[in-house]
């Protein structure tokens, strides 16, 4: 047994997690990138991406998840997503209106279409994914502090 197996849940859970966590992340990215042509979008995609990290954390303990994405990076992504969304909205002023869809719309049902909406989805998913995972970490770490006392 390697040292990695000392923390977290049993071997079965860890093996299943190792197999599925990549798929979950990929599915989140799919939902996010096809948000403008099918049901889904930034919020749903961001939640699924955050869930993949939470899955990792539940199975392997908090160090494994925080090693992949430290909490400074989380708060950076959260602020960056919000600023990006606001910047996209402000760029609409180049066409004369706040939130104007100023990019070419493209053909319906193609991946590269719908102007600014895919960009907005990416910004929202950054904000939601980082925010949700940060909420989870904050609640879990608070509990650890309470138990140590």
């Amino acid at each position: 047994m390697s040292k990695e197996h000392d923390r977290g849940m049993s071997v079965i859970v860890k093996t299943v997690t190792r197999l599925t966590v990549g798929l979950i992340l990929l599915y989140g990215i799919y939902i996010l990138s096809h948000g403008h042509v099918s049901p889904g979008g930034g919020f749903a995609g961001g939640v699924i991406i955050a869930l993949s990290f939470i899955h990792l954390m539940l199975a392997y303990g908090k160090e494994a998840a925080l090693k992949r994405i430290p909490s400074q990076a989380l708060s950076f992504f959260e602020g960056f997503g919000a600023i990006m969304f606001l910047a996209i909205a402000l760029l609409g002023f180049t066409g004369g209106y706040f939130f104007l869809n100023f990019l070419p719309k493209g053909e319906p049902f193609k991946l590269f279409s719908a102007g600014i909406i895919p960009l907005c989805n990416i910004a929202i998913s950054l904000k939601v994914g980082a925010g949700l995972f940060a909420i989870f970490i904050a609640l879990v770490l608070l509990k650890f502090e309470g138990e140590n006392k």
């Binding site: 099918s38 049901p39 919020f43 049902f109 939601v128 909420i135 608070l142 509990k143 502090e145 309470g146």
Partner: protein
């Protein structure tokens, strides 16, 4: 039939309110908030339903007929996000309260007199 559903939704809302007003445990109060929030969201979705309607997904090969109203679904998503933020904050406050007072019972957490 549909009226029964609306009334059941409002009954769920009232169960949540009862839970908020009568329960003494902080966690149960938070669960009451969540229940009434979901009752309102459910009512919003049900208001938009029409008989034998299909989901409002626009795809190239489907005819656009008899779709349910799509606007409340978008709106309810927003309200779920707001509910998420409120619930997370309430739980964080509840955990801090437990850390300070060592209890979840609101009758013992009454140092402030209104």
């Amino acid at each position: 039939m549909t009226h029964t559903l609306y009334i059941l939704c409002l009954a769920l809302f009232c169960i949540g309110l009862y839970c908020i007003l009568r329960k003494r445990n902080i966690i149960k109060i938070i669960i009451g908030v969540i229940i009434s929030e979901y009752a309102v969201n459910l009512l919003f979705i049900l208001v938009a339903y029409r008989m034998q309607g299909r989901s409002p997904i626009y795809s190239p090969d489907a005819a656009i007929e008899n779709m349910v109203d799509a606007l409340p679904q978008a709106v309810v998503l927003t309200s779920i996000v707001i509910g998420l933020a409120t619930t997370a904050l309430l739980i964080a406050i509840a955990m801090r309260i437990y850390e300070k007072y060592k209890t979840f019972d609101i009758t013992k957490i009454n140092e402030l007199r209104g």
